[in-house]
């Protein structure tokens, strides 16, 4: 069975219509990848699973799956987290 496409929320659509940053208005996650060694994520909703090869982080409407080798959660607060290691893939589900 094919997965149903994600439907954008009201705030997300509003931010698109008004050309405003969605991470601030709609609280969407913001990912910042530095090379393949550091991933910084803002507006996360918590870690769902953790391992050295895969870390799953909840982004609210998304699930952010980080794959790589020797992954390590360097720092984490209620709003942002920092993952280090050799990042090979970041997928949004």
């Amino acid at each position: 069975m094919e997965k149903r496409p994600r439907r954008p929320g009201l705030m997300e659509r509003a931010s698109q219509a008004l050309d405003l940053p969605a991470d601030l208005l709609a609280g969407l996650p913001r990912l910042e990848l530095i090379g393949d060694c550091q991933l910084r994520m803002e507006n996360h909703k918590g870690i769902l699973s953790y391992g050295t090869e895969e870390i799953c982080v909840s982004g609210g409407a998304f699930l952010v799956r980080i794959r790589g080798e020797g992954l390590d959660l360097k720092a984490m607060t209620g709003l942002e987290l920092l993952v280090c290691g050799r990042i090979m893939a970041v997928t949004l589900e």
């Binding site: 918590g46 870690i47 769902l48 699973s49 953790y50 360097k74 720092a75 984490m76 607060t77 209620g78």
Partner: protein
Amino acid sequence: MPTVMNLLRGTVTVTARGLFPERLINLCAQQGITFWGLEWLEETAVRMTVRLACVKRLEPLAERVGCQLEWEERRGLPQFLSRFRRRYAFLLGLALSVTAVFFLSRFILVIQVEGCEETPPQVVLAELRRQGLRPGAYGPALDRNRIAQEALKTLDDLSWMGINLYGTRAVVQVRQAQPTPEIENDGGFYHIVAETDGIVLHLQPEQGDAAVEEGAVVARGDVLISGVVSVEPPRYSQAPVYYFTTHARGKVWARTWRTLNGEIPLSVTIKAEQREKKIRWALEVFGRHIPLGGQEDPDGHWQLREERHTLSLPGVGTLPAALVCRTWQRYGEQQGQVDLTAAQTLLENSLKKELERLIGEGGQVLSVHTAARAAGGLLNVTLTAECEEEIGQEILAPERDRPPAEVTLPQ
């Protein structure tokens, strides 16, 4: 830097076991509990490091998500200090040392005097010591204003004194008093006489009558400017000449010939150092001399050489404690001959300095001639100099010079 801060604040490694350890991680992030070193041990166990201060907040969170906490390793300064919780002697010593530092730092160790321009600082220190401000005194008990006022009463050269305490250091700031201007005494009956023999070159009477003329040969003690002033009556008048006395003032320059003599013995006693020597160590604390060794100072022909190693602290200065090494070197006495050339040069320089002192700042030496003669075990040096100098000297005039008919001039 973070590592150092973590060591100072203390860290603890904890393992959380439960069905969903990631929930605990999320809760920690939300509650602001800082963690690092996250290590997934197995599906239901995670190990992380948190600050020691966060331990109490972590326990209820673990209880909420159904995790069990296992404390593994505590590190840092709080953990190190907690080892001494039951070492009462150590704690007592620590408390005593802190108290001693707090209490002893209130005693004065160093006194610094600032602002002395003419008065030697030693004079100020001696007076302050007399008033109770000395190394070893208890600072808060000193009445600094009273000490400063009492010291100023004795030290006439100072106009102001302030004493400040900086821990173990007392800084005494002083200001020199302005010298009182000399009040010239215009009253009285005075003459200006010749200080030495000479030929008068120039006269400059300011008050009184000139008694000699330029070119006159004067001897020591001759009156140059007289304190007796004559008032001539008008021409063709029958009135007598009136006299009145005054305080003679003025300057008289003259050409003089000065002869100075000096002598020095040709043989002197020389100290010849011998091998024997004795070393005495002593400790000086707050001016007290404490010998280390207990032996008395030797009698006889011993020469003393003292080395002082004063204790000092950066930022504080010299402390009133010193290690003193006294070396007594035995010596014998023997007669030695003086080098004639060196002795003559020494005497000549000494006589020239004496000559400069005699002719004063305004005088000048025109020519100098020296002659040396060795006789009777002495080297005799004679210095003859031709000079130009001011020779006027103010003296109280004798009563016999007072004129019989004296008038008083209106002031």
